[in-house]
């Protein structure tokens, strides 16, 4: 599943320098790829009882990854690829998410969901910030679309979190 084209240079270092749409998209793709690979590696380590959660996260991150690949190949986006974009304050937190955490040998469902929620929140903030700082046009639409995607996923995870953690609900 690993699609590591970044060599030994850390994702974080690369992210701190980005300022064009191309770099932003690379950063976002990297964000999704690391998440996908992280969950894929985590899946066999967790109890089968909660593996469904991790498997679902792998699928979701793969979908996001595919989305960014498609975006990069979109002619309309490609036309804007060199456009300069102001790096938002949320960028630091977003890029931090590329540093993968140690969730322990056998993390429980709540720990996994909390981590996933944190990632989605960071992504949502990042794309919202980018959309806010980008003038009206196709580029802004791209970021707005991405922010919506991440928001939807975060909302879905929150619902799962409630159903898992409050199961029993007594």
């Amino acid at each position: 599943m690993t699609d590591n084209t970044e060599g030994h240079i850390s994702g974080k270092d690369k992210l701190e320098a980005c300022s064009t749409l191309k770099e932003i998209l690379q950063q976002a793709t990297e964000f999704e790829r690391t998440a996908r690979d992280f969950y894929a590696e985590l899946a066999p380590k967790v109890s089968k009882k909660i593996r469904y959660l991790v498997d679902e996260l792998v699928i979701e991150e793969q979908n996001h990854y595919d989305l960014f690949i498609d975006l990069a190949n979109d002619p309309e986006v490609a036309a804007q690829i060199k456009q300069e974009i102001i790096t938002p304050p949320s960028n630091k937190r977003f890029s931090d998410c590329i540093q993968l955490p140690d969730l322990g040998d056998n993390p429980d469902d709540q720990t996994i969901l909390q981590y996933a929620l944190g990632r989605e929140q960071a992504a949502m903030d990042q794309y919202n910030s980018l959309a806010d700082s980008t003038p009206e046009g196709p580029l802004k639409d791209v970021f707005t679309f991405l922010a919506q995607e991440e928001t939807e996923h975060k909302n879905e995870l929150e619902k799962i979190y409630y159903e898992v953690v409050h199961s029993g609900g007594v």
Binding site: S47, K48, K49, I50, R51, Y52, L53, D109, Q110, Q114, N155, E158, K159, Y161, Y162, E163, V164, V165, H166, S167, G168, G169, V170
Partner: protein, 604 residues
């Protein structure tokens, strides 16, 4: 016989083409009086198909029948009354007894049909020209055949009960119970709603006739936790009761308890009867809660050898270690357990499967194994600083209270959660505070508004009476710790909404509306989960799972042919559901071990 006799029937053919003698409207416009008992109307939306009209009809003119487009659902049989005007005498008893007020009569009295079968029709379903008639007979407000209000259950006042863990309610006297039983119209809608399908109208009838031994026999046919359910059942039956539509539902739970209270325990065994002859088959049950012990009750009566393994020092599961004694006295629970054990069920207490005995050992030694381990672990909010030593899970503290294990009683406690467990721990701590500190200082915070708490309305009302403060719409954000490391409060934000348009969790907060609830202890009562580590890695991998719970079929059987699972750990928390689960798996296990299937599995 003459030729005339043979031909005369054919003379009737001459009327075939003539106009009928009976004509519509022979009297011109002469409407029935305002309260005339004319043709029936039925509001199909209000009708619940309880059949009380059918039962009361002295002429057998009403039949309850299924109708197209009306489905059976909780509290509605899906049947509707069909009326036969060849039998109806227009007495209107059916209208007077109607539990929802759906059945009425129009003031229309003229109806001409050439087809006699048309006079057998379903009002409200078969369209008639009087359906919109405004006048006609309806039951007057002061004319009721059954009492609308239930007989009040007497209970201790708040000032008295806060001083001890004594049971709050007193139970009905025989006279009170008979009065309450008289309110039941025996429609039986409750039976379908009860998870274990108790014979509710029949045992209420036993109360009416004072035949308590018959009542007890009926109770134990479907529920070996009748002592428990007579006190703490979630009583879905009452939420479906026909009487609730124009009054209060029958106090079904209290009538069950009344039967229990009237029969001496020494007589239980004689009434319930002896188990069947031994079959030589052995079943292991893990967990002595309601699901496990119900299955044990059924299986031992079928003649199987049943061994129950219980990690705690006593049986009952969460009914003992989760429900406080003021709601469920231990001696009531003990009676249910003692009866089951008296039938020959062996219980090994303080025995933890997974560490004391391996699952593989049970698989080898028994023909079938049932996993009924409940939801014994409390969930944590994991909000910032909630790892502090003075942040507890409610189920852990309730366990300590039951086990009489010492813990530092908080002077000021804040509970997170709006369910029954939150109320249980809040009210238990309030009692202990009153006894030890002579004052109550417990605050319950919950995300929901008070109207939407998951706790029973009675629990909330009684908690407030006992001096517990409830702060609703509070979303926990973190614990407050002072410089010395002491817990000093819980921070919450005002909750603006909890669910989205699809009724799924999506909370929104007003972070400018922050409250610090001062306390020295925080107790989390937000949910529970099942610790399945006893299964071991190998079995966990072999089993199929369904979103965090062991996957079972409709009979409670797992993907492993020798293993079943039942109760809270697979179905969620509810005593009477656990009892129903116990019956279901016992039946399935019996089929399995009574066939050659288990022997074949053992050999393979």
């Amino acid at each position: 016989m003459s030729i005339r006799d043979l031909l005369s029937p054919f003379t009737a053919w001459k009327y075939l083409l003539k106009n009928p003698v009976t004509i519509p409207d022979p009297l011109n416009d002469r409407p029935g009086s305002a309260r005339y008992r004319g043709f029936h109307k039925n509001d199909n939306e209000k009708c619940i198909g309880c059949g009380t009209c059918e039962a009361i009809c002295q002429n057998g003119a009403i039949d309850m029948l299924p109708v197209k487009g009306t489905a059976t659902q909780e509290g509605d049989s899906g049947l509707r009354p069909r009326i036969d005007y060849g039998r109806c005498c227009w007495c209107a008893l059916c209208v007077d007894v109607c539990m929802t007020g759906s059945l009425t009569m129009s003031n229309e009295y003229k109806w001409v049909e050439s087809d006699p079968d048309a006079f057998r029709f379903t009002p409200g379903v078969d369209e008639k020209f009087w359906d919109n008639a405004e006048l006609g007979y309806q039951r007057p407000e002061d004319h009721r055949l059954v009492e609308a209000k239930r007989v009040t259950m007497e209970e201790m006042d708040a000032d008295t009960r806060i001083n001890s863990f004594a049971e709050i309610v007193n139970g009905y006297s025989i006279e009170q119970a008979k009065l309450e039983a008289d309110r039941c119209v025996a429609c039986g809608i409750c039976i379908a709603t009860c998870p274990t399908h108790m014979a509710i109208p029949d045992y209420i009838d036993a109360v009416r006739e004072g035949n308590y031994e018959r009542g007890l026999k009926l109770l134990y046919e479907t529920n070996p936790f009748s002592n428990v359910c007579g006190r703490v059942c979630t009583r879905k039956c009452e939420s479906a009761c026909a009487s609730r539509h124009e009054g209060e539902p029958i106090a079904i739970r209290w009538l069950k308890r009344h039967i229990i209270d009237q029969v001496p325990f020494e007589k239980y065994r004689e009434i319930i009867g002896e188990p069947d002859a031994p079959t030589g088959k052995k079943v292991a049950i893990i967990g002595a809660g309601p699901a496990g012990m119900t299955a044990a009750f059924d299986l031992v009566r079928m003649g199987h050898e049943v061994v129950v393994y219980e990690a705690k020092a006593a049986a009952g599961g969460m009914t003992r270690y989760g429900i406080p004694e003021y709601r469920l006295p231990y001696d009531a629970l003990d009676r249910d357990i003692e009866l089951i054990v008296s039938l020959g069920v062996k219980v090994h207490y303080n025995t933890r499967i997974g560490s004391d005995i391996a699952m593989a050992q049970l698989e080898q030694d028994f023909d079938a194994v049932l996993l009924a381990i409940g939801l014994q672990e409390g969930r944590q909010t994991r909000i910032p600083k909630s790892e502090h030593e003075k942040v507890y899970r409610a189920v852990d503290l309730l366990d300590k209270i039951t086990s009489e294990e010492a813990f530092e009683l908080p002077h000021c406690a804040v509970v997170i959660g709006g369910g029954n467990v939150a109320m249980d721990i809040a009210r238990s701590l309030a009692r202990m505070q009153k006894q030890q500190y002579d004052q109550v200082d417990v605050v319950v915070t919950a995300m929901e508004d008070q109207q939407h708490f998951m706790a029973d309305a009675d629990e909330i009302k009684e908690a407030l009476e006992e001096g517990i403060i409830i702060r609703d719409n509070c979303g926990p954000q973190g614990c407050e710790i002072d410089e010395s490391g002491h817990l000093i409060g819980l921070k919450t934000w005002k909750v603006l909404s909890i669910l989205d348009e699809n009724n799924r969790f999506a909370p929104t907060y007003d972070d400018s509306d922050e409250t610090i609830h001062a306390c020295d202890t925080v107790i989390e009562a937000i949910g529970q989960f099942s610790d399945t580590s006893l299964l071991g890695e190998e079995l966990t991998e072999k089993l199929e799972w369904n979103r965090g719970r062991i996957d079972i079929d409709s009979n409670g059987r797992t993907s492993e042919s020798w293993l079943w699972s039942a109760g809270d750990c697979v179905s969620g928390p509810d005593v009477v559901h656990a009892v129903a689960d116990g019956h279901r798996v016992a039946s399935s296990i019996n089929s399995y071990i009574s066939s050659n299937e288990s022997s074949i599995d053992k050999q393979s």
